[in-house]
């Protein structure tokens, strides 16, 4: 009798454990493992964001140097591997990391949502009538699921804008990033959008670059005080570098007037040829 009663009122699990996949795929089945994947892909994406920002600083050296940098990326591993192969491998890696980061974030959020259901006075999402008083959770950590989608939407816009040239139309010159960047960011709404999106990115990094240490279990009381500082300075560095592009364009410090290979006078191939010549003359 006693047992039947305790069985009847036993709290039922919200989810059943499933059959385990073979190692290492089974890591992705559990939330702790999935957080680990999120942190690991986060590190990869942080690396990309940093390299992307530093690489783009070439824009301050003028159109020719920027063109050279773009060509250098396409020629990675040249002489051994076909042109653009390494670049495409890197891009593929980025896409996989981004997809995993996104998928784990969405599924883990769903898991937390299910675990917080019926935890409110009206049976919905977890909520306290007395108001939740956040003590430790920073604004950044609580808005991860908003800054994330903003970054994802920005990424799509950014690719369509500067890689595929959807909105620049005839003004888009494939292979001349300096010109494309200038034409895009000289439009005020676009510049504002870039500023907003990069602020979201910095917010996201501010929590993520700290949180990843915990998720990966990198914790040593000797160095723990450095983790938040690292996250803040990383986010600050990315913010500073990335905001400089729209701001400097608006301030006319990134300017097309002085350039030797004017886009308006030449067709696309001639522009690229002119830029290459300009480099060789140096």
């Amino acid at each position: 009798m006693n047992q039947t009663t305790s069985q009847r009122y036993r709290v039922k699990p919200i989810r059943e454990s499933r059959r385990e996949w073979p190692f290492p795929l089974n890591l992705y089945q559990t939330a702790v493992g999935r957080k680990w994947v999120m942190a690991a892909t986060g590190i990869g994406l942080l690396g990309f964001v940093l390299v992307h920002m530093i690489g783009n600083l070439h824009v301050y050296e003028g159109p020719a140097k920027m063109h050279e940098y773009a060509e250098a990326l396409r020629n990675l591993g040249s002489g051994i591997l076909p042109r653009s192969l390494v670049l495409w491998i890197l891009r593929l890696g980025l896409m996989i990391m981004f997809a995993l980061h996104l998928h784990s974030a969405i599924t883990l959020k769903e898991m937390s949502r299910k675990s917080s259901q019926n935890a409110s006075f009206n049976g919905g999402e977890k909520k306290y009538e007395g108001g939740r008083q956040y003590i430790a959770a920073s604004y950044a950590s609580r808005t991860m699921r908003w800054t994330g989608p903003i970054i994802a939407l920005f990424l799509v816009y950014h690719l369509a804008d500067l890689t595929w040239g959807w909105w620049l139309g005839n003004d888009f010159v494939p292979g001349d990033p300096y010109h494309n960047l200038y034409s895009s960011l000289s439009r005020i709404p676009v510049a504002i959008f870039y500023v907003v999106a990069n602020m979201a990115l910095a917010w996201h990094i501010f929590h993520g670059a700290w949180s990843m240490f915990q998720s990966l279990g990198i914790n040593n009381p000797k160095y723990n005080h450095l983790r938040k500082g690292f996250a803040a300075s990383f986010a600050g560095l990315i913010l500073l570098g990335n905001l400089s592009f729209p701001i400097m364009t608006q301030a006319n410090l990134i300017d097309e007037d002085e350039r030797l290979c004017q886009v308006n006078d030449l067709n696309n191939e001639e522009v690229l040829a002119c830029l290459t010549r300009q480099l060789e003359d140096h």
Partner: protein
């Protein structure tokens, strides 16, 4: 020193798990020397005298070590005072005329049994799945037979301070039980006596935890809510051990 104050209580009432709950308001006169639970006792006495149903609230030791009491007071687990359980919270933390909202700990896996009492048995499920060590029976072994490094003993002791009250889950926006589970795993995983089952324990306890609770996003709310100030470091310890456990068990595949 002591003064008598009147607090306006807004208390969660719920007859049974299946019934709808609602808030009830009471004004309660109480001396500032009373503890929070004594204040509820006074209220219940008054309710009893009026022939009304008293508020159901769990308590046991009333000295902050059993983990039985625990309610959300104005949206904070165990109330506004840091590192204090509800029973150790005193009315001197409040002033005359304060409005106090008292709610049960909430999470999907903490169903309300009655009023402020919640069913925290999912914690028992987690403990059952691995919160033990194996000891050979027979004649008692010599005292201090197993040397324990001082640091390991300290770490295990810090983790063992967890009283399993559930404040971490209640305070967590994700309803994750990482702090509780990690404290138990680190408690036994840091000591030599806990080594034989270390990896199996980590795997199964985390597995059970994930059947009931949400996923940690490193907000840190649990640590702030914890009456025993269990450190977030233990969550990192658990994450690290979990990854090692998955890899190590694979290395033992030859023994299957």
């Amino acid at each position: 020193m002591s003064e008598v104050i009147t607090v306006n209580l807004k208390i969660w009432r719920q007859e049974s798990p299946s019934k709808e709950g609602y808030f009830e308001e009471h004004a309660q006169k109480v001396t500032t020397e009373a503890s929070f639970l004594e204040m509820i006792d006074l209220l219940n006495e008054d309710l009893n005298n009026k022939g009304l149903e008293p508020v159901a609230i769990e308590s046991d030791c009333r000295e902050g070590i059993c983990g039985t009491c625990g309610v959300m007071i104005n949206g904070q687990a165990h109330g506004p005072r840091k590192a204090t359980t509800t029973c150790q919270l005193h009315m001197r933390e409040f002033s005359d005329g304060d409005k106090i909202v008292i709610e049960p700990f909430r999470a999907g896996s903490f169903p309300v049994i009655r009023d402020l009492v919640v069913d925290r048995s999912p914690f028992d499920r987690i403990i059952e799945s691995g919160g033990y060590i194996s000891v050979n029976t027979g004649s008692a072994s010599d005292a201090n037979l197993t040397p324990v490094p001082k640091e390991a003993a300290d770490q295990a002791f810090d983790a063992a301070a967890c009283i399993g009250c559930g404040a971490c889950v209640a305070a967590c926006p994700n309803s994750a039980a990482q702090l509780f589970t990690s404290a138990k795993i680190a408690h036994m995983g840091s000591l030599p006596q806990g080594q034989p089952e270390r990896w199996k324990r980590t795997e199964s306890m985390v597995g059970t935890m994930e059947e009931f609770f949400g996923s940690c996003t490193n907000h840190g709310e649990c640590h702030e809510a914890c009456p025993k100030e269990i450190s977030l470091d233990f969550i990192a310890f658990m994450n690290r051990d979990y990854m090692k456990a998955k890899v190590k068990n694979r290395a033992l595949s030859g023994q299957r």
